[in-house]
Symmetry: C2
Subunit: 288 residues, 2 copies
């Protein structure tokens, strides 16, 4: 496994790989790798000749109230996980390497950003697309891997790739779950025993919504109301939002016709949990 922190060296390396006709799988992360990241790496490993993992805590995607300085880091642990899963190169640039000067050309996300979790994170997706445009140009991957847990991020990255014709295939990877269906998250350890017991209701509720669509109910409001009732009966968590939007455009729908996302966020005492399902007008799951 090779370690790179210099942009030009990565570009030279990647140029050689292209000349050899090798496919490149790319997993962009902020480090502190967990099982979700591992799943991304494994998928990249299966589908590509060469796998690049980037580790960069991107200051641009942190809001004013978000704690950049205390973002957890564990380089040694990350390296071990990367090595174990067959990563060929880790790219871990410094902030000065990635942002040597103030940007003269800035990116704004004018669609897909102001819904779901994006509503409460102004500027977050600007930071995400800026760093990804850079990383795509540095690593020039054949495929880039993102977890469906953050479905909105995938929708925004999809827009970046489509709008600017980046020659990279976006691969959404299904959310890793516990036996009882709860989406894996580093935040789950902050749940009380009782909360942990109740939390699988989140995924149950979303699947219930999907089943309603399978049964022919196409009115988003009916579905959201039903889910709200179900969640309120099954858990003491406070519902932040329940949204049903077109996917990946993330626009309001009044009647379910094409692909949609059903997503929710629930506050517990010391953790806010999110989850989603993406499916079509027949209730067929879009990803795994």
């Amino acid at each position: 496994m090779e370690l790179y922190s210099d942009i030009k060296k990565v570009q030279q390396m990647v140029s050689n790989l292209h000349q050899q006709g090798e496919t490149i799988g790319f997993v962009p992360t902020m480090g502190y790798l967990h099982e979700g990241h591992e799943r991304l790496i494994q998928r990249a490993r299966q589908e590509n000749d060469y796998v690049i993992l980037s580790i960069f805590v991107n200051p641009l995607q942190f809001g004013e109230n978000e704690d950049l300085d205390h973002y957890p880091r564990d380089e040694k642990h990350d390296r071990a996980i990367a090595e174990r899963n067959g990563v060929d190169m880790i790219f871990f640039p410094t902030v000065d390497t990635m942002y040597p000067n103030a940007l003269s050309v800035e990116m704004t996300v004018t669609r897909r950003a102001d819904v779901l979790c994006g509503r409460s994170r102004p500027g977050h997706f600007e930071g995400v697309v800026t760093v990804l445009a850079k990383l795509f140009n540095i690593c020039r991957p054949t495929r880039a891997y993102f977890g469906m847990k953050d479905a909105q991020q995938i929708a925004v990255v999809d827009a970046l790739i489509e709008d600017y014709n980046f020659p990279v295939k976006l691969v959404p990877v299904p959310t890793v779950r516990e036996q009882d269906g709860l989406a894996k998250s580093s935040r789950n350890v902050n749940l009380t025993d009782k909360e942990r017991e109740e939390a699988p209701a989140i995924q149950e509720a979303l699947q219930k919504g999907r089943e309603m669509v399978q049964q022919g109910i196409k009115n988003p409001l009916t579905i959201k109301n039903e889910i709200r009732k179900f969640l309120e009966s099954k858990t003491h968590g406070k519902i932040d939002y329940i949204e049903l939007l077109s996917y990946p455009k993330l626009q309001d729908v009044h009647h379910i016709e094409g692909q949609v996302i059903l997503a929710t966020a629930v506050y517990y005492e010391k953790a806010r949990l999110i989850d989603n399902v993406v499916f079509d007008a027949d209730g067929q799951l879009a990803y795994g």
Copy 2:
């Protein structure tokens, strides 16, 4: 010479070229090719294995008062010029191909845009960087060629490439001139005989400014005043601006230390002419 209008096909073609280790020279244009474009193509031809010329009248870079609909087009003439100068591929997409949907991720040029000609063309450089980011991702060139006549455009493209790490080398090509030094321009035919006789004073004035720097004068104000006096004595044209800025950052300078641009725009009755010189603190020309 091959003709392409489909984005995916160009990307496939270009991917093959990369695999063969071929270098790609890229000349982006809006068509209606003239001698300045020819010079760019010739330089690209000299320095690369494969030369791509794009012809796309980009609606995004036209202002509200700028006449997109009447922008001149002459496909047959353009093809002949391309063929004659050894272009390997012309990429000529439609507007629908380039902008199938409203953009979700938009680019804003926050530096280098609001000076020189950019001052009177709000939104122009946003359109330029947007289409170039797309064209770079479609054609993935080794080198991209731009004329120094539009030095501000080069400065903005330089920012785009640096800020987003596009793996492309920007090649500024010196302005093509008449025997008497007047920068070639399709607008020169709109000059009266008397105006045409006076117009070489523009380049003379700029060279005079450069000579002042060679002689040790480092105060931009002194230089600009001298040039203004010279121009006013030599031509009846109305001076739009005379600016001396750092290059390529295009910031005000109070004392000439690094590389600078000295640029002017002059109104004649039916034509507005622009010209510039870029040089260092010793008055040494930067290009050509």
